[in-house]
């Protein structure tokens, strides 16, 4: 394996620091190029170097994946050949999308339409025809920026997912000028992905513009699932679901896009039943192990499980606490959320926990379970949540620490997991659930849950990339790291960003932004972050959080965050096809938190809330397809409400939850 002189691990590229980025970008763009042809590889490396990028070359897909996993935030973009002996380029694309949520550009000497289309549908950001010219490579940075921008926008704007997609699509098509002929297909990616994944034809996403983003909280999702249940999944049409749900302010489009995601989720689930079981089993089997190893992981797992399987908040909290080594009892769900966030924010560094492996496995399972419930917040954090002002800070701290802890855990988890899960597209269902767990742990803070959820969702999605909890975790983690480097700013701090987000969400979002440090969360959530702050990638969860009544008690925020996260995740997962991950952002944002902890601490409280909300939201959403854009955050959800709703849901949801697909919800088999 050739390792180009480009620094694989170095995150010192100037383009990482937010401030400098704008000046020197795209200089220092960290590219990983994968091609089994040594001649092409050498040429590409030289071309990329001449573009002043940092290049790492690799002639095996597996090796490339391990590079990516080991250096979560070590790369900004991946260029890969389609035909490779050890792994199909599209498969690699999927993995990367699921785990790391990096933009991937495909290359091939084959320019036949169907292959190019395949690239589009798998979410490639571009498709270059060989022989590649240097001009084509000079512009690849646009994909990185675009992706971040979309993620940020998704997170920040109160728009439905559709809007984002539409934007994204347009952007892709218009921005790419020099790219190879395959490029025009790119703009179709998000759409294509959706088409492929969804059974229904409802594409509200693209049609509805600028709709207020609805946060699919756990409660809301519950209602949704119940309505679907009542109607029968075959007969469940948005209009009827909407009527049954009878939620004021909810539009048919919201329901439609959510339904799409849900369907995908179900599809994914049905595709990988065994995987899920495996995960759950493993999780079940090793809760002790998990606990033993990384407390944070455990917490996450618990959260994930709680989220997924509806573990009562308290139990989840307890588990979390136990995992985290804190007094579990208190927190209930809020806490975990917070913790999760922290986990995420703590990013990369944490990832390197040795125990990760084990935990990852656990987390994987958990993630499924937790899916949407980032509840793994630590009790302490939960407590903080309840105290809006100061607690935020405190929470942040806690969260951060947790996040860190979790991050590492998650990272590990994701690393190990993603492999297993991501690789098996079929495992979507199970994977999804797994992620949440792992994610949750890492999330500790609210944000994380979302990330986790997102991941799991991602994996769930047939695309496999999104819901893979494990992968998500890793990807999230990775992202966090990367994100933190580059998008520090994305983790928009609540304070600064609040303006961007709806008031309610603001607090949470800020909290989220903290979490963003964890970066795991997709940029979507970086509502606050402006594009100019590439760094603060903060996962969209934050934004999600904002939709929640951040103004409400912090505790609520926590939960809200979770939901938003859930939503985000869903969105992410749905957009998985796009390739790259929306899921990533969620994770990313989580990580960024860690980095941003500086300013995020203030917001810690709210963020946590948002994180947790995100988690919940994500969970609810679950559908990766739903671009996170579509994740709506019910602002009216106070944390308390959410928590109680969640708890209730956990208790009663049982069947419904399962339908939703979140393994997490069905925590039946979880030993509480």
């Amino acid at each position: 394996m050739n390792i180009g002189s480009g620094s694989v691990l170095s995150s010192t590229g100037s383009w990482k620091s937010g401030d400098v980025v704008s000046d020197q970008f795209p200089v220092g763009l960290r590219v990983l190029v994968v091609d089994d042809d040594p001649t092409c590889l050498k040429i590409l490396e030289k071309m990329l170097r001449n573009c002043h990028y940092e290049v790492t070359k690799c002639n095996r897909a597996e090796v490339a994946l391990s590079y990516l996993r080991e250096n979560k935030n070590g790369f900004d973009i991946v260029i890969s050949d389609v035909h490779m002996p050890d792994m199909d380029g599209f498969k690699l694309l999927e993995h990367i999308g699921l785990e790391m949520d990096l933009p991937v550009i495909m290359m091939s000497a084959d320019d036949s339409k169907d292959v190019v289309m395949k690239g589009v549908t798998h979410g490639a950001y571009d498709y270059l025809i060989k022989p590649v010219r240097i001009e084509a490579l000079k512009n690849i940075w646009q994909h990185v920026v675009r992706k971040k921008k979309h993620e940020w926008r998704d997170n920040n704007f109160d728009q439905s997912g559709s809007v984002e997609e539409g934007d994204r699509q347009q952007k892709q098509s218009e921005d790419v000028d020099y790219s190879s002929s395959a490029n025009e297909g790119n703009w179709k990616n998000p759409k294509k992905r959706k088409e492929e994944d969804e059974e229904g034809e409802e594409r509200d996403d693209t049609s509805s513009l600028k709709k207020p983003r609805v946060v699919w909280s756990v409660e809301l999702h519950q209602q949704f699932v119940q309505a679907v249940h009542q109607l029968g999944i075959d007969k469940a049409v948005p209009k009827k679901i909407l009527e049954l749900m009878n939620v004021p302010g909810l539009t048919r489009e919201n329901v439609a896009s959510h339904l799409q995601k849900y369907r995908l989720y179900l599809r994914r689930l049905s595709g990988v039943p065994q995987h899920q079981n495996g995960l759950n089993n493993s999780f079940m089997g090793r809760p002790d192990a998990t606990f033993g190893t990384i407390s944070s992981l455990n917490g996450l797992d618990l959260q994930a499980i709680a989220a997924a399987g509806q573990i009562p908040a308290q139990s989840l909290a307890t588990l979390q606490a136990a995992a985290l080594g804190r007094s579990a009892t208190k927190s209930a769900i809020c806490m975990p959320l917070v913790d999760q966030r922290n986990l995420f924010s703590f990013e990369n560094s944490q990832v390197r926990f040795p125990e990760g492996q084990q935990q990852l496995n656990n987390s994987n399972k958990q993630i499924d379970l937790l899916h949407g419930i980032p509840t793994t917040m630590e009790p302490k954090q939960l407590a903080n949540l309840h105290h809006p002002s100061q607690s935020f800070v405190g929470m942040n701290m806690q969260v951060n620490s947790m996040a860190q802890h979790n991050n590492s855990v998650i990272m590990r988890m994701s690393q190990s997991q993603p492999r297993a899960q991501m690789l098996s597209g079929a495992n979507n269902g199970s994977q999804a659930s797994r992620l949440p767990l792992s994610m949750q742990q890492s999330l500790s803070s609210e944000g994380i849950p979302g990330a986790v959820l997102a991941q799991s969702h991602i994996v769930d999605n047939a695309r496999a990339s999104v819901y893979n909890p494990v992968s998500q975790a890793s990807s999230m983690v990775d992202f966090s790291v990367n994100q933190s480097k580059e998008l520090q700013n994305y983790n928009f701090s609540l304070g600064s960003n609040s303006s961007g987000m709806s008031n309610r969400g603001m607090l949470q979002e800020e909290a989220n932004s903290d979490i963003k440090g964890s970066r795991g969360f997709p940029s979507n959530y970086n509502i606050f972050n402006d594009l100019h702050q590439p760094k603060s990638q903060n996962w969209g969860l934050q934004n999600v959080g904002s939709s929640f009544d951040s103004s409400h008690h912090p505790s609520i925020q926590g939960t809200q965050g979770v939901s938003s996260q859930l939503l985000l995740q869903q969105g992410i997962s749905s957009t998985h096809n796009n390739g790259q991950n929306r899921n990533g952002p969620i994770g990313k944002s989580m990580y960024t938190n860690g980095e941003e902890s500086g300013h995020t601490n203030l917001m810690g409280g709210p963020q946590l809330n948002s994180v947790s909300r995100n988690m919940l939201a994500v969970k609810a959403e679950r559908f990766p397809d739903a671009d996170y854009q579509s994740t709506n955050f019910p602002e009216q959800f106070g944390q308390d409400d959410l928590m109680s709703a969640f708890l209730k849901q956990q208790g009663s949801v049982g069947p419904v939850e399962t339908e939703f697909g979140f393994d997490g919800y069905t925590l039946d088999n979880l030993p509480v």
Binding site: D37, T39, C40, K130, P131, I134
Partner: protein
């Protein structure tokens, strides 16, 4: 000095003929443009790498062409890889043979495949020789501005 000028002229002339006779295409110029002070022999390195690596593929295809019946899918796959390599160094004539070979593969034309492959190997060897000479002269002449010619 004079000698060097002559050498440079010869190199330029050699280079021009490579393009004029269709041995290499614009991609070769792409490689030349990548060459810089940091990598003054970049083009030669790449070409060397190509020939070393593609020898393996050539061998695989040769062997596969001995099979009965021919596995066209496998042949097509090998050739696809080989074609990708050729095109990356701008080996124009060889690439044309690659395309032809793949067409015969898809048509299931055994004779066509075998015949084309023989032609391909000839072009492959001829190109290698021409490039070797060219590089030799180029090294002797020393660094020079080669990006002046652009075939249309």
């Amino acid at each position: 000095m004079e000698r060097n000028n002559n050498l440079h002229r010869q190199v330029a002339s050699l280079r021009q003929s490579l393009f004029d006779q269709g041995y290499v295409d614009e991609q070769f110029i792409e490689l030349e443009e990548l060459q810089d002070d940091a990598t003054p022999n970049f083009v030669e390195e790449v070409v060397t790498l190509f020939y070393n690596d593609s020898a393996r593929l050539i061998h695989n295809i040769d062997q596969s062409l001995e099979e009965h019946p021919l596995d066209f899918a496998k042949l097509d796959n090998f050739m696809h890889q080989f074609k990708g390599s050729c095109s990356s160094i701008g080996a124009k004539k060889v690439k044309i043979e690659c395309t032809q070979f793949m067409e015969y593969c898809r048509a299931g034309n055994v004779e066509g495949c075998k015949r084309t492959f023989q032609q391909l190997k000839r072009e492959y060897v001829v190109l290698r020789k021409k490039l070797e000479v060219y590089f030799q002269y180029a090294r002797q002449a020393g660094p020079t501005d080669t990006a002046s010619y652009r075939p249309n």
